[in-house]
């Protein structure tokens, strides 16, 4: 069941990505008659299809790369070209079939023309920015609306002044190592992706360039703190976040978030927190992988391999689409890594905005759990009653009321 759910989620996510990253549905407009009329070159149908944003079959170009076997003798006219004209040579370079030798040993140095660059740029400057931005705005609007309707969730029984330890120092350290770096990574990432449309018009290129050079340094190097924090949190909390029957009760009652005085029982983590935990683990792991691929350009290609696995699993067949590409230029790998990194980041930021809300202004007493580590026992009884029962063998310590 879990595997099926996972496959469905992957399929849906992948469908969305492919629809966003790929051009509109194929319209292979040209027929052999119109192609013959142009001597094999592009047709009016090709031009019209391209203008409408439809996919054009480029085989008439990619396969027209000359024929050395029919080359004129070296002493004949044009014989020195070896059966390949200049346009045919450029086509071969464009579509990656030319035999290129370069002196540079740098990765991907032998890719002279990368034909997918414009598609990636259009995706990055178009759907990625628009839908990503709308997603974050929608999350913020939903949180404001929730606050206006529900207000701050108070401790119904009142603050007792007696506290119990909820998270140990090492748990809080790991949480803040991940959370602090995530906030900075998110901000610098948004600065990068929205720089051209939002920041440069505001502050100018002269101010943006050095700020973003510093931002990129921070983004690259702080990522290690995030990954270490993620690993620590995963190891420390994974056992506490295994779903159980109480989670169904908690979910059925909406966690008590929507009705005053309703407090479904929960252990150390309630179902909502478990959902956040697993999202953080999955999204954090995925964004770390694509981030590592971007940190070490061309060294860690992973999309062709991932697509091969998805093809083997039959995901494209389930979706009714053609097999995913498994042969990519190094640059295409980087473009997929960047696109995926940003998509996951937008979703991740949206999830964490909700988490930050409920952990701070949204719920009285919640921040203390990660601030001082001590929560009021009344808060514990209301929000994590089963956990409180487990730990209440300890004598609650007198402490000043939570701030």
């Amino acid at each position: 069941m879990a595997r099926m759910t996972f496959r469905i989620c992957v399929s849906l996510l992948l469908t969305a990505v492919l629809l966003l990253m790929g051009p509109a549905p194929s319209a292979r407009a040209q027929d052999s008659a119109s192609r013959a009329a142009t001597g094999g070159a592009q047709t009016l149908e090709d031009i019209l299809a391209r203008q409408q944003g439809l996919k054009v079959d480029q085989a008439f170009r990619s396969e027209a790369t000359g024929n050395p076997d029919q080359a004129a003798a070296i002493t004949d006219q044009l014989g020195t070209l070896g059966g390949v004209s200049d346009p045919e040579l450029w086509r071969a370079l464009r579509f990656g079939s030319a035999d290129v030798t370069v002196s540079s040993r740098a990765p991907a140095a032998d890719v002279i023309i990368q034909d997918g660059g414009m598609a990636w740029l259009h995706f990055r400057a178009g759907p990625l920015l628009h839908y990503g931005g709308y997603l974050l705005l929608a999350v913020l609007a939903a949180l404001v609306l929730f606050y206006l309707l529900r207000g701050r969730i108070r401790i119904d029984g009142g603050i007792t002044g007696l506290t119990v330890l909820r998270f140990s120092a090492i748990e809080r350290f790991a949480h803040w190592l991940m959370a602090g770096s995530f906030v900075v990574l998110g901000l610098t990432g948004l600065m990068m992706i929205f720089g051209r449309v939002a920041l440069i018009p505001l502050v100018g290129k002269e101010a943006y360039a050095p700020a973003m050079a510093a931002g990129k340094w921070v983004h690259n190097n702080l990522s290690w703190a995030f990954m270490i924090g993620l690993a620590m949190v995963t190891v420390m909390w994974v056992l506490h976040n295994i779903p159980n029957r109480q989670d169904l009760v908690w979910l059925a009652k909406g966690g008590g978030l929507f009705s005053k005085g309703v407090h479904p029982p929960a252990r150390k983590f309630n179902a909502g927190q478990k959902i956040i935990f697993w999202l953080v683990v999955v999204l954090g792991f995925s964004i770390s992988l694509s981030g590592l691929s971007l940190l070490f350009p061309f060294e860690l290609p992973m999309f062709a391999k991932t697509f091969a696995v998805l093809n083997d699993l039959g995901v494209p067949q389930v979706l009714g689409i053609a097999d995913l590409p498994t042969a990519m230029t190094p640059h295409e790998e980087m473009q997929f890594a960047q696109g995926w990194h940003a998509i996951v980041a937008f979703v991740f930021i949206g999830v964490i905005l909700a988490h930050i809300y409920i952990g701070s202004v949204g719920m009285e007493g919640a921040f203390d759990a990660m601030g001082s580590g001590e929560v009021d026992i009344q808060w514990a009884k209301e929000h994590h009653s089963l956990w409180y029962d487990e730990v209440s063998g300890r004598k609650p310590r007198d402490k000043v009321p939570a701030e």
Partner: protein, 41 residues
């Protein structure tokens, strides 16, 4: 709150160590994408 501040400090330290550590380990752009035939200085 000490854990939080300590974590923020640790994040900064990790970032600095990552920068110099990767450079030292030969992962700088200069080391990865150039050879002895390329004069960068």
């Amino acid at each position: 709150m000490k854990s939080m501040y300590l974590a923020f400090l640790a994040a900064i330290l990790i970032a600095v160590i990552a920068h110099f550590g990767l450079d030292y380990a030969g992962f700088s752009s200069r080391d990865v994408t150039s050879g002895p035939a390329v004069r960068l200085d």
